[in-house]
């Protein structure tokens, strides 16, 4: 991505560039947070629309739908998350999803949340596939990128004003 920054005067430009260098990481983090929020919202919405059927073992040669208990594992509060931001060499990275969600209780058993989420998303030989994460990624990706761009532009403009550019 590239941005055009307009400012007048060499001294102002120097000040703005200096401030930009210092605050770039903070600006990037703020923007990334906005984008990650959009992705998380989309994913949550899609997780809530997973179709279910009361649990029963899949019949011979047939598949079954996820049970309401399995759905509860991926839709419950605090299950879906935004990972801690990793800052490295001027880059800020994060991930949205179930990667580090830990464990949940399901039908008296402790199950890993990422495993259940992956089973619903990719399907198994006995469970029907409902690619809610991939769908959310496709739908939210564009909007998240827009939000990131807008936030960066807004913050850079504020920075220019602060530094008299």
């Amino acid at each position: 991505m590239s941005y055009t920054v307009k400012t007048e005067g060499m001294e102002e430009l120097e000040r703005v560039l200096y401030a930009l260098g210092e605050k770039a990481e903070n600006i990037a983090s703020g923007a990334l947070y906005e984008g990650a929020g959009i992705m998380a919202d989309e994913m949550k919405k899609d997780a809530e629309s997973i179709r279910t059927a009361p649990f029963q073992y899949a019949a011979e040669g047939k598949t079954r739908l996820p049970s309401p208990q399995e759905k509860a594992v991926v839709t419950g509060a605090g299950k879906l998350g935004i990972a801690k931001f990793r800052k490295e060499d001027g880059e800020v990275n994060t991930s949205v999803g179930y990667g580090r969600s830990g464990y949940a209780e399901m039908a008296g058993k402790i199950v890993p949340i990422p495993l259940i989420a992956n089973s619903i998303n990719s399907g198994t030989s006995f469970m029907q596939r409902q690619p809610f994460v991939r769908k959310a990624k496709n739908r939210g990706g564009k909007r998240a990128m827009e939000a990131i761009k807008e936030t960066i532009e807004k913050k850079v403009e504020e920075l220019i004003k602060e530094n008299g550019g």
Partner: protein, 121 residues
């Protein structure tokens, strides 16, 4: 849209029916992926899942890209040779449009599961 996908499906079907009579072992495909599970050593599923992206203009969709997936279930850890064949077919029909989305082992059934996703125009 559709040409790439149709040719990909045709290629996958050809692959699953065995390229030559000498090839005895074939890969059965689930006919209705939502509800069937062929009783076989290895089996595959190919489907179009949803619209991935579109180029809109003049009150119309000028170009639409669809995301689909190919699944392989196999009792063999190496996929009984199907992994390489599926990858080769994907590469022939849509270049670099695909990726391995997940690879899991099902403890309950003893099946290995590969899922490749692809995007076609």
């Amino acid at each position: 849209m559709g040409d790439t996908y149709s040719s990909l499906v045709a290629a996958m079907k050809a692959l699953t029916q065995g390229e030559s009579p000498a090839e005895v072992i074939t890969l059965p495909m689930a006919e209705d992926e939502w509800n069937t599970r062929p009783n076989a050593e290895s089996y595959g599923i190919i489907s179009l899942d949803f619209e991935a992206d579109s180029l809109d203009g003049d009150d119309a969709k000028l170009d639409v890209s669809m995301e689909g997936s190919v699944d392989l279930f196999s009792h063999s850890r190496s996929g009984a040779g199907w992994v390489e064949k599926i990858k080769k077919t994907l590469e022939t029909y849509c270049g670099a449009c695909w990726s391995l989305n997940s690879h899991m082992y099902e403890r309950e059934t003893g099946l290995f599961h590969w899922e490749w996703t692809f995007e076609v125009f």
